[in-house]
């Protein structure tokens, strides 16, 4: 079928996505108005069967949705990327000529974090299972009926509400009635989700989460009113968020209190609630991916004992990183999954529930020592120095992770790996994780002094965000990627993305303007620190919200990623995206420009999807690099793109299945020659196997 991107011919009357005939709407791609919801739901249909496409289009228009049709997956992706937040829902066929529907599903999840409904004439259980595993929020079996289409809006709502529910869970018990209300809302969900929610709810009970009445307000908001002022969750803002959460304790971290602690003018409780929601969701995904990775059963849900703290901390970190920094969830998830998925020993994450357990390991093992705590915002990785004590107070319970995390489609992991178009966090995440895992060892050997300082918040954000204290650069010599977020205490807060050894945590809250990424660190550390350490100078954050996406740490990933990073200086950041080419790390130093003040992530440049979203629908993978892009990035972006694409292609789709993930290689990296190891194995052998 010829490439065809069809705009619904009748859509002009019904309100096509592209139609600007809705002058009252601020942005052309504005979401359906609250009062008309679900009418006006913006649906993108991707289907190569012209018969089905026509029928579906017609039916959706009958439902008063704003339909955009597309007969090619690549075209659909372009559409989605061009119009960030231009769609509410994607319906895609499983089989398409130019791209596997599941791949599209993953990409959409990674980049846009939109609910995707798969459809096919193949109603075999295995096919449906595959769709769900890849992250489809629903699977329609042809023929699609009007009744089913009339209810697809629930998937959009559920996605938002799930985040809210996560938010609630993270909060303290406030009002059980509100919990019920949330539950009632959850009833909108389809049976598929019900199962997930149920298990998740069970987990919640185990965690003894309490409802947050503030969350409830969030819950009560009309999910269709998604056009809220967008908040850019920069790294520093996210750090503040994390700090606040840590201070409150994960169970008691309710949006209202978090907001108060953060004390950021202009930030609303809703923003915080949304962010927290995403954080939770991210963690959930991570654990789900982890499950897939390791093939472990839901036993993951069980609190990790030895690493429960770590796990929870990590979880928190991931979440907060993902949420706050709008790190592409894929990245975060990928890293998390990697970590979690690693079995015995090699993998850093001891358990699934820890999204990112970037902890300095005592040995080469990736597993972080139990004492280490990964605290998001606060030291993600507990330094050996034990700076993590901050976090310990957070009391995040590993068990907090809802079981649903585990049940999260294993595709998430796959998501990450499979982005050919997206920055394929999958691979990068893995590599990033790998790197991070490596770091701990190094970290142990060389405790970060700066990290240890209280003024530094070591945030070892998972893959997507490696933030290291400004002082880190010096301490990174050992190749430890210490990630720490500079606290306000440091005049020039530098966020260095370093190796996984995140260190110290300090409770200070980063000033958004203080975060700086110093690429020089990266370059200097390149040989030692596989994780790209980038210290972004303050300037960098001034623009868009560079750090809105915690994928900065991805710099680590970037190192993983491949040539794209190397070849194009700015591309370094791009690494986050799916480029799992660790080998490129070696080249990083030489290629990374001193991007002071700018983070390179052409993906971010390209996809400012996380910027300014008032309601942040968690992306499946917080892998997308740093969202905000400075102008520098833009220039680098172009050059990076090709490289990235090259790299992406290196990853086989098999990665998605996780079947070829090699988990056993992780521990083999010589601590001081991570880069070398990486370079030897461009496949990021630890994680991927083509």
């Amino acid at each position: 079928m010829s490439a065809m991107q069809r705009m619904s011919s009748e859509s002009a009357s019904t309100g096509s996505l592209y139609t600007s005939c809705l002058p009252d709407r601020g942005d052309s791609a504005s979401s359906p108005s609250q009062e008309l919801f679900p009418a006006g739901l913006r649906v993108l249909v991707v289907e190569d069967d012209i018969t089905c496409l026509k029928i579906l289009e017609y039916m959706l228009q009958k439902c008063q949705y704003r339909v955009t049709t597309c007969s090619e997956a690549l075209t659909a992706l372009s559409l989605l990327r061009e119009k960030k937040d231009g769609f509410d829902l994607v319906i895609s066929d499983v089989h398409m000529p130019d791209m596997d529907g599941f791949k599209l599903l993953e990409l959409v999840g990674l980049e846009m974090d939109l609910p995707v409904i798969m459809m096919s004439a193949d109603g075999r259980t295995s096919a449906v299972m595959r769709g769900i595993k890849h992250g489809a929020c629903y699977y329609l079996i042809k023929p699609v009926r009007m009744e089913e289409l009339k209810n697809i809006w629930q998937h959009v709502i559920r996605k938002k509400w799930n985040g809210s529910k996560d938010l609630e869970h993270s909060g303290s018990f406030e009002d059980s009635d509100r919990q019920k209300r949330v539950t009632d809302k959850a009833e909108y969900e389809s049976s598929v989700n019900e199962g997930t929610d149920g298990s998740w709810k069970t987990q919640r009970k185990k965690r003894d989460f309490k409802d947050d009445e503030d969350d409830d307000e969030h819950e009560n908001e009309d999910p269709s009113a998604s056009k809220k002022p967008r908040v850019v969750w920069s790294v520093e803002l996210h750090q503040q968020f994390v700090n606040a959460v840590n201070q409150l304790g994960i169970e008691k971290a309710v949006p209202k209190r978090i907001l108060e602690l953060m004390n950021v003018p202009g930030l609303t409780r809703e923003n915080v609630a949304s962010h927290l929601q995403k954080f939770r969701l991210y963690l959930k995904r991570i654990s789900g991916m982890n499950q897939h990775q390791s093939g472990l059963p839901n036993s993951f849900c069980n609190p990790m004992e030895a690493n429960s703290k770590v796990g929870s901390l990590v979880r928190l970190d991931f979440h907060s990183l993902a949420a706050a920094g709008q790190i592409p969830p894929q990245t975060l998830a990928a890293l998390h999954a990697e970590l979690l998925g690693q079995p015995s020993g090699n993998m850093l994450l001891p358990r699934i529930e820890s999204p990112v357990i970037l902890q300095a390991s005592n040995q080469n093992s990736m597993i972080l020592p139990a004492e280490d705590e990964v605290a998001f915002g606060q030291p993600l990785f507990k330094c050996q120095s034990g700076t993590s004590k901050h976090f310990s107070s957070s009391g995040i319970d590993a068990q907090d992770m809802p079981s649903s995390f585990l049940s999260w489609p294993s595709n998430q992991f796959g998501f990450m790996g499979s982005n050919n178009d997206l920055g394929g966090l999958n691979n990068t995440d893995n590599s990033l994780l790998m790197q991070m895992l490596q770091q701990p060892q190094q970290h142990q050997q060389e405790p970060f002094n700066p990290v240890a300082s209280d003024s530094h918040i070591a945030i070892n954000v998972q893959p997507s965000c490696l933030i290291v204290p400004s002082q880190l650069p010096n301490s990174l010599s050992g190749g430890n990627c210490s990630m720490a977020i500079n606290h306000n205490s440091h005049p020039s807060n530098n966020i260095q993305i370093g190796s996984s050894s995140v260190l110290t945590t300090s409770k200070s809250i980063l000033n958004p303007s203080d975060i700086a990424f110093d690429y020089s660190i990266l370059s200097s550390q390149s040989t030692n620190a596989p994780l790209s350490m980038a210290q972004v100078s303050d300037g960098g954050f001034k623009n868009t919200g560079l750090l809105s996406n915690y994928s900065i740490p991805v710099s680590v990933t970037s190192s993983v990623s491949t040539t794209s990073v190397c070849t194009s200086g700015a591309a370094g950041w791009r690494l986050l995206n799916s480029n799992m080419n660790i080998a490129s790390l070696n080249r990083l130093p030489g290629h990374l420009p001193n991007l002071s003040g700018s983070l390179v992530n052409h993906d971010m440049v390209r996809n400012n999807r996380f910027v300014g979203k008032g309601t942040w629908l968690p992306s499946r993978f917080a892998v997308h690099g740093i969202e905000s892009a400075t102008t520098n990035w833009n220039s680098m972006k172009t050059s990076a793109v090709d490289d990235v694409d090259k790299v992406k292609q290196e990853f086989s789709m098999d990665f998605l299945d996780g079947s070829k993930v090699e988990k056993t290689k992780l521990p083999n990296f010589p601590s001081n020659d991570f880069m070398g190891v990486l370079s030897k194995d461009s496949q990021a052998g630890c994680f991927l196997k083509s």
């Binding site: 018969t51 089905c52 026509k54 029928i55 089989h95 042809k142």
Partner: protein
Amino acid sequence: MDVRLLQRQWVDHISALFREGFLDAQFTRLQKLQDASTPDFVVEVVTLYFEDADRLLNNLWNTLSQPVVDFKKVDAQVHRLKGSSVSIGAQRVKNACVCFIICCEEGDLEACFGCLHRLKLEFTQWKSKLEALFRIEQQIVAAGGSLPMI
């Protein structure tokens, strides 16, 4: 011709199609979707289906004719045709697809060719019957009448 006669003809024809399994409930749903604003919706999608299915059948023939038959590809193509058929309400064509899929899963090339042959027959027959139905419809409309509700 008298409109009522034409309408009677139309009812008889379409009833037979349902009775004989050429059409199923999906076709009825499509008809119900059609309204004054889109009076040609059914004809339009069926016409699209005619073209699409023709092409798919040719592709299937080509795939099965390869020196080394990729049954996964065949399976995907049959599912594709099944998806179209099921969406349009072409029940017998869909049933033929189902048999085809089974043969694919078994990797039985000879049986696949047999299934393809049957599929082509079913489709050809379905197409001719629908075309006959549409001709009656055109005559009804030309005579100033409207399609009966079923």
